[in-house]
Symmetry: C2
Subunit: 459 residues, 2 copies
């Protein structure tokens, strides 16, 4: 022990410095097992620190098991494996991230309009929520009742869905809820029908539970429901209001056919109503769940209509499934922010939500008109525009036999980012190039400028 | 058609009123299929509304498939199943909720101190985050890099864990992350060892994936690691810094033994470091992951140390598992609020987090002293206090052979809520009554008053 030199620096607590140096010496084997440490008085005197500081360092070492106190005899080093400390994940290489290109115009779909976000109301309400007692507790595992009540009212008024706040479950994303839902469905249902093309995230969530996937083809005229008869699944996942990504809506006849199918097969329809708020040519169509809520699991979220980063989704469950869900997940904590839930509940209660949706419908309708007329003007007969009745993006089908990648790369060379649709196809391939152009966070000038650049890139 | 009376009220848009009344009439079969609707001019004149309003109502009905336009011939009703609309979940009874008793003192553990919450700093930062562009996008599926960087720095400084921001995954709760983690572990590991008593939420998350559970007994002296040799699992879930619920900490020898065990079996240790920040008698012990991060999956969260309702958790993965995780979940959206992530990153970056932890350690230390001295004063030799070195609760072991329920009910009769520990036991039974008393959101007066009432209730 005599030749060990301790260094005591200013800044960090002295006792922690002594503790750490002893710890290292013991771990490295520099002080062997059963050696006696200097007495508290000795060490304190030699380092010119208080005895109390020394005592604290020794007590930390005792508590962690590095040394033991043997009463008046003093402190001794415990047995320890030498050189046990290994370096860990420190050398993990940087994540493969896309090379960051600075785009002049990014036709990103996963965004909302920042300029028209109700910043003042949202701040006021979220700041007030921070003073509530319940904000400092764990929340209800199935979601806060105040928000579930607001959602139930909204679903009845806007989507024709008659449900009960208790039948509504709050989650953090559609995928997270599909993982939970899959857990209570997978024993009775081994396979599920999904739309092709369709939302890739839902497919992934079903694959999480090893569901076998059957595909229902969809094009601009809708889905061919006669295919259902040849399929063996009793479960189907659909986007009836605004097919993702094609954009068609199911007619009342198709909706009825689907309900009858589920009824006959004793199955369920999972209706993902992800952006039904934004239909421009007519009122949003009533939800499938408004026709028969005993056969339909209704999913909605605030990602398109309010703010994706809030991570706030919900589902309305038929009674049989609700009981099963509550039993399965009663010991699971909510995955959804309590602050966001309480804020959104108050936002809806005060009428801010309805005002926001009305305002945004006009804002996005205007943007949709911009992009459609810009595309028509620049491309005319070279393209077909798909899905201009609703939503926050359009699909551009190009009458050309070059591959999708070519159009994306050419656009990129001109500083414009457009998105593929092949990822929505089951085999990651579409027959003709179809590009996805989102416009939610672009203004009309940016949209026009972007489409102009696309013309240069593509024609 | 002649005797159908339309009512047009003020307030709601006229076209929606007309649309809804037609829809109902068609659904109820009051207007049979292939019947002709009044022409737009006729209806507009008879209702004294504009032709444009009538046209909009008809177009909505056409779009949804209720009627069809046949050019100059006019509008006709489509085929439709009669009486298809079924009532749904509307009659679901209210959720079975506990009868709400108003407690005078609630020794709840799942809460944080509201009086010392850094409200001003949090509001300032979260309000500023609302103006950032990235707040309006979908976030990184694995968590925002700015927060992962802050957590990596914090883990190194405070827990001795050397990791890399890329190896850190942000989630919304420990259970949510265990569900994801279980997905990438379940093929290689069919069973897992859990502590008994132990965190019930973790057990549930492992049962989600049908892991077989083996139990490692823990008491006030710690776990008996010699039991590990007889077990067949190669995976273990532990709470080394502050065993949940017993409160003991693993010594360095026990930590080493565990690491060697994992090494020898080619397994992993899941280290749940859920409230390591609050150790009062010494510095927090270094994490298991600081000894060997290749064998340890490290889990942490902000629920005890900051705010449970934020739903912000994280884990640091060994490299092999990280690759597997990234592949499995690259198409899954984050479950954790982007607002909370960006706010917490800035909060940490500005040093507010370290200040908060320092302050709260003193606040909770003071409360811990209050409750321990109150219990000692009122109960003396009738009880033993377990776990007073750290955390936001103590366990009270009562030297009495009446059952746990008796003590909870008696306390309730005196207006005090105390919590069971039997739920943490594998068979839901402990040998002696042990009650859990949380104090995080009570002040010293409330604590003293509550303990006084408990004396009246129990002695």
């Amino acid at each position: 022990m005599e030749n060990i030199i301790f260094t005591i620096e200013k800044g960090t607590s002295k006792y922690i410095q002594i503790y750490k140096q002893f710890k290292l010496l013991i771990e490295q084997g520099d002080i062997p097992a059963n050696d006696q440490l200097p007495s508290i008085r000795q060490l304190a005197d030699s380092l010119r620190i208080s005895r109390n500081t020394t005592l604290m360092a020794y007590e930390q070492l005792v508590a962690e098991g590095y040394i033991r106190g043997e009463g008046r005899r003093g402190y001794f080093v415990n047995e320890l494996e030498a050189h046990i400390v290994k370096e860990g994940a420190i050398s993990i290489p940087d994540q493969q991230s896309e090379p960051t290109t600075n785009y002049i115009v990014d036709f990103k779909a996963g965004s909302v309009d920042q300029a028209n976000f109700p910043l003042k109301a949202y701040r006021r309400i979220s700041n007030s929520v921070l003073t509530l007692q319940e904000t400092f507790l764990y929340g209800n595992p199935f979601g806060e009742m105040c928000l579930r009540e607001q959602i139930a009212t909204y679903l009845l008024q806007s989507r024709g869905v008659k449900t009960n706040p208790n039948a509504i479950i709050i989650g953090s994303s559609t995928q997270q809820m599909l993982i939970h839902l899959g857990q209570i469905l997978k024993d009775d249902f081994q396979s599920i029908i999904v739309e092709n093309p369709g939302y890739d995230g839902a497919r992934e969530a079903f694959l999480f539970h090893q569901f076998t996937l059957e595909t229902l083809s969809v094009d601009e005229t809708g889905a061919d429901f006669s295919q259902l008869d040849d399929m063996k699944s009793r479960l189907i996942y659909v986007t009836p209001s605004h097919q993702s990504p094609i954009g068609v809506s199911m007619s009342i006849q198709e909706r009825q056919k689907l309900i009858q199918w589920a009824d006959k097969r004793n199955g369920y329809i999972i209706e993902d109503d992800y952006d039904s708020e934004f239909r421009y040519t007519q009122q949003p169509f009533p939800a499938l769940a408004s026709i028969d809520s005993t056969k339909v699991i209704y999913l909605g979220n605030f990602s398109k209509s309010f703010l994706p980063g809030m991570r706030l989704s919900y589902m309305a469950l038929p009674e049989v499934l609700l009981n099963r869900y509550q039993n399965q997940f009663k010991y699971f904590e909510s995955t959804s922010s309590l602050l966001s839930q309480l804020t959104m509940a108050k936002f809806m209660e005060e009428g801010e939500w309805n005002r926001h949706i009305k305002r945004m419908r006009l804002v996005y309708k205007n943007k949709m008109q911009c992009i459609v007329s810009a595309l028509n003007k620049q491309f005319g007969q070279h393209i077909s525009i798909i899905g201009e009745q609703s939503g926050l993006y359009v699909l551009v089908k190009i009458h050309d036999d070059r591959p999708e990648d070519w159009f994306i790369e050419r656009a990129s060379n001109y500083g414009v980012k457009v998105y593929p649709t092949s990822i929505y196809y089951f085999n990651n391939q579409s027959d003709v190039p179809i590009l996805k152009l989102g416009f939610s966070n672009l203004n009309c000038d940016q949209i026009n400028f972007g489409v102009n650049l696309l013309k240069k890139a593509w024609l």
